[in-house]
Symmetry: C2
Amino acid sequence: MNSEVNIKVLLAARPIGYPTEGDFTIAESEIPTLEEGQLLVKTDWLSLDPYMRGRMNNVKSYAPSVEIGDVMVGGAVGTIMESRTPLFSVGEIIEGSFGWQSYAALNGVGLRKVNPALGPIQSSIGILGMPGLTAYFGLLDVCEPKPGDTVVISAASGAVGQVVGQIAKIMGCRVIGTSGTDEKVRFIVDELGFDVGINYKKENVGVSLDSACPDGIDIYFDNVGGFVTDEVIKRINTGARIAICGQVSQYNVTEPELGPRNLFHLTKSQAKMEGFLIYAYESRYDEGLSRLSKWIKEGKLKYKEDIVEGIRNAPQTFIGMLNGKNLGKTLIKVS
Amino acid sequence: MNSEVNIKVLLAARPIGYPTEGDFTIAESEIPTLEEGQLLVKTDWLSLDPYMRGRMNNVKSYAPSVEIGDVMVGGAVGTIMESRTPLFSVGEIIEGSFGWQSYAALNGVGLRKVNPALGPIQSSIGILGMPGLTAYFGLLDVCEPKPGDTVVISAASGAVGQVVGQIAKIMGCRVIGTSGTDEKVRFIVDELGFDVGINYKKENVGVSLDSACPDGIDIYFDNVGGFVTDEVIKRINTGARIAICGQVSQYNVTEPELGPRNLFHLTKSQAKMEGFLIYAYESRYDEGLSRLSKWIKEGKLKYKEDIVEGIRNAPQTFIGMLNGKNLGKTLIKVS
């Protein structure tokens, strides 16, 4: 049906530490032929997110691993080119986990139709998709912010962190973000309106937190873990809420990293720490999306995307993101 | 008024690591003379608890440190010998934090009258006092047990742990306890009805937990921290609840101990970890005490006390308790 080929990025080897380009293979194949009940999607945008690093391991977790030789998992948005199901029509835009490939034959399960009138379609895998919803429910439901709370966010300029910080500002909180470059720190403060940004690679994080949070820390939204988290936990207030969204500092370690045993801070501060996955809030996605859209329209919520063209560039872009080279939500423009 | 003297145990030095008897001084003084509004209590029973180790440090925590030369803090129960306040009468039994001394002049704040008809008066600093209430609210409110849940408790034969385990059995849970001697393990299984006891000093805790918890762990009530907690966290189920009540393994370390960075287990299991202090539940103490008494009367709840006579023995008994030498709630019979 098409002279193009399907370009797929496959897992070639399980990485030890940070992935390298050799852990991926680029393969080409025919555009898939549909069976009854299927649809063909052409991928327009692919999302690259830290959680994908976990799927490259052969370890039991909340979602299955990618097998060697399989297409890498990933959220994407695309256009329906052909349909053999009455549920979807040619030309519709859909969002789902169709992986690192330029075409996919799908059975319709887990797909969401995207209304292109609401904004650029790639926002369905960004601010109006998994990262935006993760920020929304993770902050509002897990951390329950109140006006005047001091909120600290790690990986503050990332796909999730930038939204958490802006929602916290909307809620009337004082917001401090940690990032790994001066450019990112300037971005969250100057463009997103965070109160303070801390470059955790250059600054003494403890000293900077003391200065930025003279009244202690009420909420910590953690995407990173490691020593940044240790320094935050030392400074939590009574009744603090900590959301463990991700621990990207630990995803590429080759030897398990050790840190201080600090759980007694939870006792003495009567604090709560909670890990969460966005899927738990699926029944409330409409609520989240409608509030996020409203804030975008009101100009209260901005969203920075870091766009790279071409699916063949996905491996090196993903590796770069794990090393903090992106600024904002990492996207591959596939077609 | 009395030919006796007041025997007091004072903090002589801030311990480095485990306290030694040299960190305490035994002092004698006159029985205090009352001012208007005060009452004189003769201490009958003194409670010895791990939290007191924290008060010996000069570190900001949820409660003030004991100053060098001051009487050691501690919950106690005693008899009113003299009263210059209309609120209390001679002969009444009161419970409060009057410290490691045989007599105390008190102003009445923070005291609770004990009804000796309810049981032995020392239960007011045990099963019907702070340890019992800590178990009750920590398990029921923080951990929200459901029938069929697998519950693991560290320091399972201790003042709090033994009550947690029995309430968990009342709630229909499967209960596993960790303790440091075979005698304690036999006690929690044979006398208290725990399903499994693990001697963490002799067994490979991970292997024993795998065997005792084939369906994973839903609730962890932690009094200890350290490597036992690490092994539990690896095995938590989706939606697990972890109460951080104490971290006695860490109270006597001279160098901060390191452990694995394991917070991602909370994310992948969508689990909650919460530190709590019993004071937060003060408005509900009556509820807790009435349920605990009911269970005692019904024979569903037993309570093991480890009694040593004489306040002069408090330092060595306290040091022994921190080293796990007690079996059950540690009490000093003062008079």
